[in-house]
Symmetry: D2
Subunit: 341 residues, 4 copies
C-alpha cells in the first residue's frame, strides 16, 4: 500500500501516519518529492480496515492498494488453471462445457423432455431451477424438493450431471443432497452466509456475478468459498446492469477475459440471462467462447411460450441443436492456447 | 396489459393470443390499426408469468404492462402516508427523523460515547452494526450478539430507540429480540427469504435500496415484507452504482422524490453510504430533506480514523452537531406540504 | 403509437386527446377496458413532437411508440445488407475486414513502418488519427493536414485504403480530400452538424457509438447521415461507460448482435478502445467476430511505450500478426450464415 | 505521479523507467519495498502523454496521478469563488440565481408570455433555445436567428439577461451577438472546437455536464474554455445516464457538492433535464440549492402540452410561481456559509 499525503500536509501529519503504521507492525518508507510526501508501506501483513483508517487521517490525500484483496482466487496464488471434475467431466480443462436446460423445473415430463433433447444435442450438464428467486412476491417460486427429485431422475435417465440453485442457507443441505453442482445466483453474490454455507458442503459451487459487481468483488465472493477450504469454485458471467435497454442485461465478455487473466478458476458465460432475448443467445454464446470462456450456460425449453419463467430468453430444442453445431465448429477452430487468450 | 402484434403477424398469431388469454380467464379487446393489431387485455387478474409467455408467442412484438407490479406498497392501495411509531417517535409523520451512530459497534465505551453525543445533538434513533456484511472475507464482521447487548445498553442509557442490521435468516430472531427497527442492507434487498423472515417478526423493517435496483424493484422488495402482514416498512436510499468514481456511490435523490409519489411508505436518505466521503455528508443530507425524505441516516464516530469500518464517510461528534443545527433550520423552512412535494 | 389513459381519466381528457389527434390528421381507435381507456393512433404520419405533447396532456398516463424512430437505417426499410465498396474492398459483404494502425499519426517513419506491418499481417484498411479529440486541452492533438499527407503517402506505398477522423465541421472538407473513409468519433456521435457535413461529402462514413448512447440513438445518428442521401454508413461499437473499472470501457458485443438485426448497415467492433488494455484485444476481437461483426478496428504501434496516445491499448507488430492468424482461423470456422446470426 | 512496478519487474525494467523519466527532465525517487519497487516522479512539469507511455513499459504495473489534470479550474489555482457579472446580476456571488424559460423559442408571443411570467415570479435570467440539438433528424430544430431576435426582444421588454445554446462552431459568432450567456449543451461537452470557439468570444459560457462525463472530465471541458483566456465559465449539472428508467436522467447532486469543493466556478443545477418529469422539478430544485448549487435552470412553458419540445418536463406558469415561493424560503434558511457546504 502507498499513502499519498496532501501537498500541504505537515510533519505532524506525516509522523502520525508513521506511528499508526508502527502500531500495526508496519514500516513507512518515505519518498519526499518537491510537492508532497509519499509513504510506501512495508511489512508482512496489512490488517483489514487499516486502509480506510489511513484515508481518514489528517493530511492524507489518498491511498493506493497495490496487491489484490483476494488471495486464494488469484493467479499469483496458483498459476495453473483449476480443473473441476464432476464425474468424468472436466470443467476448466481446456474443452468448453455446455450446461443447458429450462429456467425452472415445471414437471417431470417437461424436464425429461428437455433433458433428453439437450443430451442428444451435445450438452454436458443439465440445468434447472427448483428454488427460484423472483423480483415479485407474486411470481412462481419453483417446485422445491419435488423439483430436486425430478432433476435427480433426469440425471439417472440421461447420465448428465445436474446444476441447480440454492437460494438460502436453509436450502443448502437439501440442495447439496441432490445436485452435482450448487449454483449461487447473481442476487446472492454477496450473501456471505450463503457463500460460506454452500462452500462447506465441499460440492462444486458456481457463483454468478452480481448485476452491478466489479470483477474484483466477484473474485472476492469466490474467495469466501475458497476460504472454507472448498477449492471447487466456478465463476459465471451473466450480464451486468447498464443504461442500455435493448437487452435485459449487458453480457460483459470483457469480464470473462479479465477474469481468465486474474484467476485460475473456470469461467462460464450465460448468454440467456446476459441478453434476455432468445435470438441473441447464439451470437453471444459463440462470442463468449471466443473470448475464452470455459463453458456456456443456456436456457432451453420445449415450448418457450408456455414456460413458467424466462420464456423470452429460452431456446427451443431445435434452436439449441443448431447452436450446438456452431459451438462445435467454433471450438474446433479455437485451439486450447487460444481459448486461454 | 396491452399486447402489440408485429406488423406482419397473421390471423393465426392473433387467434393464438386470444386463445391464450381465454385460457387464463381474460378477454382480448382488439384494436386493428392500419399497420398492426393491438390487443388490450381485460380481466380481473393477470396471472404472474403470463406476460413473459405472451412475449414469447409467434407474432407478438412486445407487451406493455400498465399497472404497477406491486400492490400493498402503492399509493393506489393507500393514499395517506404510512406513519410508523417506535415508542413516542413517528417516522413518516411529517417531521423528519435522524438516525445516527457508528457503522459498527466496536465496544461499549465507543458506542456509549457516540450515543450520548448524537442524542445531545438532537438525533432521534441510534444506529450501529453488530453483524457486518463485508466484501472481503478477511475484514471485520462485527461483534455479533455482544454488539446487540451494547446497543440495548445504549438505548437504556439514552432513551434512543435503536436500529441494527440482520444479515441472515439465522440472525433475525436474535436481532429482533434486541432492536427496535431491523435494517436490511443494500446487498440483501433481493434476499427474499430474509425479507420474509424479517417481516414475520412484526418489527418495523428498514429496507435499503440495492446498489443497482430500480425504484420498482425496491418497492417490490417492500412488497415482500408487506405481504407477510407487516405494514411497518421504511425505505432507505443509500446510493446507486454509476460510472462516476468521485463518490463511493451516487446518492439518488430523484429516487426519493419518485418513491414519495409512488408509495405511502416513509423514505429515508443515507448520505454517508451515498457519497462515501464525510465532507459530502452535510450538503447531501440537507439536499435529501429538501427532496422530501422523511429522515436521514448518518454515520458518526468519535474518532473516524480509528473506526473499524467506514471511517472515511463518518462524521465526528463536532461535525454532526453542526450538521444538526443546519438540519433544524432547513426543516423549519420546509413546511409539511412542501416536504411531500 | 398507443396512448394509455390514467385509470381516473375522464371523458374530457379522452376527448381532448382525440381532438389533438384529429388536429394532426390522425384517428384515435378507442379500446375501453374495465380499468382504463387505451387509444390506438391510426394515420399515415405521426408528427415529430406529438408524442411528448400527448404525454403532457391531462389524464394521459403514458404513450407507447411501436415503430422505430429511424427509417432509412432500419431492416424494415431495406432487408438485405448494405455492402460498402472502397476500391476493391467490400465492407459488409460477408467476409470481415480488419482496419489497423496507430491511434495517432506521429511521423512518416512511424506510420509507414506500421502500415507495412499491418498490410503484411493481412489488414485491409489503414487507420491513423491526424486530428485527435483529447479530454485535456494540454494533450497532443495530432499533426493535422501534415498527418493526412502522411496517410495518403502510406496508402500509395501499401495500397491500403485509409480511414481517419474528422473532428469538426471545419475539417470535413480537408479530411475528405485525403481519406477513403471518414471516421466520426464517439464523442461526436450526436454532433449533428458534423454528421450532416460529413454525410454531404458522399464518402463512406464510420460512426462510432457514443459511450453512453443506446443502440437506438446510434442508429439515429446513422439516420442523420443517411438522410443527406449518403448511403455509405458504417457503424462501430467501441465500448460503453459502465461502473466497471477493470477495463477502460465495456465493449458491448450485445449491441453488435442487436444492431445486426435492426439495421442493414455494416457493424465494426473496436476492442482497442473497447477494453483499453492491449492484452484484452485478442480475445475481444475474436469475440466480436463471433458475435457477428463485419470487421474489426485495431490499434497497432511499432513501439507502444513511445506512442503519443493510446499506448496501453495498442498491439505491437508481432502481437498483431499473431492475432491475424487467429482471426483467419475463426473466420474460416464462422460460415457466412452464422456471421449474420 | 507515482510509478508502481510489478512484483517480478527486474532491474532492467526499473532502469528503463528511470531513463525514460530522465529523457523528460524528470527524476525518479526509488522506494524499494519487500515486494516491489515504487518510483516517485519528481520534476517541474510532466509532459502530457507520458503517463500512458509509462503504463505501456515492461515491468510497470500501474501509475498513480496525484495532481488533478486541470489547473485553471481548480481550487488550488484560485481559492475564492469566481463571481460572474451579467449586467447587475452576480452568478456565484452567494445568492442563488434562477434561469427560467421554455425549452425552445417557438414564437414571439409564446416567449414574451413566458418571459413576463418568469420575471414576475422572480427569475433572474431568461432561457430559450433557438438552435436545438435533436436525437432524431426528423424533430424540430429551432427557429435559428429568428429565435435569437425574439430572445433579444424579450430581454428588452423584461430587462432579463438571456442565455441560449450555440450548437456548432458556425453558430457561435451569431449567437454571441445576441445572447448574454452562451450555453454549451451536454452532448457538446467534449466538442473541443466548440468549447474553444465559444471561449474566444469572451462571453460568459455555461457548460452542461455530459450525460456520461465524470466530474473530472467536466472540469477539463471548463479548462478548455479557461485556457482561451475567458474566465467567465459556469458549470451546469443536468443529469447523468444510469440504469434507472423511472427518470429521464439521474440528476447527480453529489456532483454539485463535489464540484463546489474542487472548483471555484459557479455550479447550476437543472432539475428539468435532470429528471424529465415536471412533477419532480420542485423537490429536485430545492434539493439542488440545499446541496450548494449557485442557481437553477428550469424549463417553463405557458402550455406544456403544446410545447415543441420537452413538454413533459416543463412547469406551467402557475407551478413555476409556486416553486419560486419555496425557493425563496429555502434560500433564506440556507445561510451563505451553508450554501458553500
Amino acid at each position: 500500500m502507498i499513502v499519498v499525503m496532501k501537498s500541504h500536509a505537515d510533519l505532524t501529519d506525516r509522523d502520525a501516519v508513521l506511528t499508526r503504521l508502527a502500531e500495526n507492525n508496519l514500516k513507512g518508507h518515505l519518498s519526499e518529492g518537491e510537492e508532497r510526501i509519499v509513504i510506501g508501506v512495508v511489512g508482512a501483513k496489512i490488517p483489514a480496515g487499516l486502509e480506510e483508517q489511513l484515508q481518514s487521517m489528517s493530511g492524507v490525500q489518498t491511498t493506493l492498494r497495490i496487491t489484490r484483496p483476494y488471495k486464494l482466487a488469484g493467479r499469483e496464488f496458483q498459476q495453473h488453471n483449476t480443473v473441476i471434475r464432476v464425474g468424468d467431466l472436466e470443467i476448466g480443462g481446456g474443452t468448453p462445457v455446455v450446461m443447458a436446460g429450462p429456467c425452472s423445473v415445471e414437471s417431470a415430463e417437461q424436464l425429461l423432455s428437455t433433458a433428453h433433447a439437450v443430451k442428444a444435442a451435445g450438452a454436458n450438464i443439465l440445468r434447472g431451477g427448483a428454488f427460484k428467486p423472483r423480483t415479485s412476491p407474486y411470481a412462481f417460486r419453483g417446485l422445491g424438493e419435488e423439483g430436486l427429485k425430478i432433476l435427480a431422475q433426469a440425471r439417472e435417465e440421461t447420465g448428465l450431471p445436474i446444476i441447480t440453485e440454492a437460494l438460502n442457507t436453509r436450502d443448502v443441505e437439501l440442495v447439496a443432497r441432490y445436485t452435482d453442482i450448487i449454483q449461487l445466483g447473481a442476487r446472492n453474490m454477496q450473501n456471505f452466509a450463503l457463500l460460506e454455507e454452500a462452500g462447506q458442503t465441499g460440492k462444486p459451487i458456481m457463483v454468478k456475478r452480481g448485476p452491478s459487481a466489479t470483477v474484483e468483488e466477484w473474485l472476492l465472493a469466490a474467495e469466501y468459498i475458497l476460504a472454507t477450504g472448498n477449492r471447487n469454485v466456478i465463476l459465471c458471467e451473466r450480464g451486468i446492469r447498464t443504461y442500455e435497454t435493448a437487452t435485459r442485461n449487458t453480457l460483459d465478455l470483457n469480464a470473462v477475459a479479465v477474469a481468465k487473466r486474474r484467476t485460475h478458476l473456470p469461467v462460464i458465460a450465460d448468454p440467456s440471462h446476459g441478453t434476455g432475448k432468445w435470438y441473441l443467445v447464439a451470437p453471444m454464446a459463440l462470442a463468449g467462447l471466443a473470448a475464452g470462456a470455459d463453458g456456456l450456460m443456456i436456457e432451453v425449453h420445449h415450448d418457450p411460450d408456455r414456460a413458467s419463467s424466462d420464456g423470452p430468453q429460452s431456446l427451443n430444442h431445435l434452436n439449441f441443436a443448431q447452436l450446438m453445431q456452431q459451438v462445435r465448429r467454433l471450438i474446433a477452430a479455437l485451439e486450447p492456447e487460444l481459448a486461454v487468450a
